[in-house]
Amino acid sequence: MRALVSITLSGLVAGPAFAADMKMSVEIPRLAVAEYHRPYVAIWLEKPDQSFVGNLAVWYDYKLKDNEGTKWLKDLRQWWRRSGRELTMPVDGLTSATRAPGEHQVAVDLGKAPLSGLAAGEYQIVVEAAREVGGRELLRIPFQWPPKAEQTLKTPGKDELGAVTLSLKP
């Protein structure tokens, strides 16, 4: 069940006041390491002052017995402080399995919080990745909402993340 559908509902859902569109992809790099585990990844929306707005996705080992995969969620330490510790995992529509190396579409549902009814202004998408017996990396992409012009914003990762791409359409 690795296939992910990029859900861009802006044309279908009447919810948002503006019919903007957002697509996002995150690349998990292939690493030549002795012991590899797929990273835990959290993706959320924040204001420029880094105050938390809402979660977009959390990828973790949610199928381990006794919910054991939640033990390492705190390693996504910035997400844990901003949001994770407030949640009871798993969360429907938010949590899903870890991803293999490769490029993955992130399901962005414009008809749901935090994007539904999101006030116009400056925001940033944050992607945080933490890998068991590996490292941690955090990337931010600032953007304007709603977008004024069609644009693709791309940030390259260094170690634990590959490119993160955000495509916006007015």
């Binding site: 006794d66 919910n67 054991e68 939640t70 033990k71 390492w72 969620l73 705190k74 330490r77 910035q78 844990w80 402080r81 994770g84 510790r85 407030e86």
Partner: protein
């Protein structure tokens, strides 16, 4: 002679637990949790407790804790009273330590965090140290407040007695930080955190308040030392002062474990016939990278 030496050694150790230490002095008492911020459903922490020079390396003596095992002879089966361990759960109830052991260099125990929220784990020691003259001989004594009244003659010649009140704390949180366990007892020197002790980030200022018998501990010197000094030349200690309200602010230079210590000497002993009091507070904090 051997007895005297043993006694002195144990006095020194007990003093190191009970008495304020300046950053320049050796022997620091500490507790070190395996983690302070935890997620998941079946959450445990292991706490090490020791008296050592370097932070946080167990290389001198285990901290003696009541009800968590028997110290081996070499690490001091004799000597002063073990500290009382109190584990306050998020709902304010008491939790019990598990799998306790006292080894040659460290004591260790586990805490099963069955509730979500913040736990306060405190090792406290409240006793009296006394000395007096019997002819040419100096008698030394230490023990509880109750024993002091019974065992130390009230008319002892040249009686010097000091109440030693020490408190060592660590804080661990499963899930979201909470504040019920942070409530103060109102006795001795205590920390009243303004910034939550499990919400500390390098580069961000954290504010705490020290209180003595529940009242602001004003103009007090607070020493903060980053762990890991075994592998650096400089101690890296910071000295802060509490304001009139007992408050002080620390800006952590780096992520890591930090040891904090403050102490007061005053004449507010709660024991009859004892004028002097020394109250000491020590805590270990974990500071995360942003």
């Amino acid at each position: 002679m051997k007895t005297t030496r043993t006694f002195l050694k144990w006095t020194a150790l007990a003093l190191s637990v009970a008495i304020p230490l300046s950053a320049a002095q050796a022997h620091r008492s500490w507790m070190l949790p395996s983690a302070t911020i935890l997620s998941g459903d079946d959450v445990w922490v292991t706490i090490d407790a020791a008296v050592s020079n370097d932070l946080f390396y167990f290389e001198h003596f285990p901290m003696r804790l009541a009800n968590i095992g028997t110290p081996p002879e070499a690490s001091g089966g004799r000597g002063g009273r073990p500290a009382e361990l109190t584990i306050v759960a998020p709902d304010g109830s008491r939790a019990e330590p598990k799998n306790g052991n006292i080894g040659r260099y460290r004591s260790t125990f586990d805490v099963h965090l069955t509730q979500k929220g913040t736990y306060k784990i405190a090792a406290t020691n409240d006793g009296i140290f006394a000395s007096w003259k019997e002819g040419a001989e100096t008698k030394r004594w230490r023990g509880t407040m109750a024993a002091f009244a019974k065992e130390v003659p009230a008319d002892a010649q040249g009686l010097q007695a000091t109440q030693m009140d020490s408190r060592l704390e660590v804080f661990v949180t499963s899930g979201k930080p909470t504040r019920d366990a942070l409530k103060l007892t109102g006795a001795g020197l205590e920390l009243d955190p303004v910034t939550h002790p499990n919400d500390l980030v390098a580069g961000s200022p954290a504010t705490f308040r020290l209180v003595l018998d529940g009242k602001p501990a004003a103009n007090l010197k607070v020493t903060v030392i980053p762990g890991g000094n075994r592998y650096r030349d400089k101690l890296g200690d910071m000295t802060l002062n509490t304001d009139a309200d007992g408050k002080f602010t620390v800006t952590w230079p780096n992520a890591g474990m930090y040891w904090m210590e403050a102490s007061v000497r005053d004449g507010s002993s709660s024991a009859p016939n004892v004028k002097q009091r020394r109250a000491n507070y020590v805590a270990t904090f974990e500071v995360l990278a942003p």
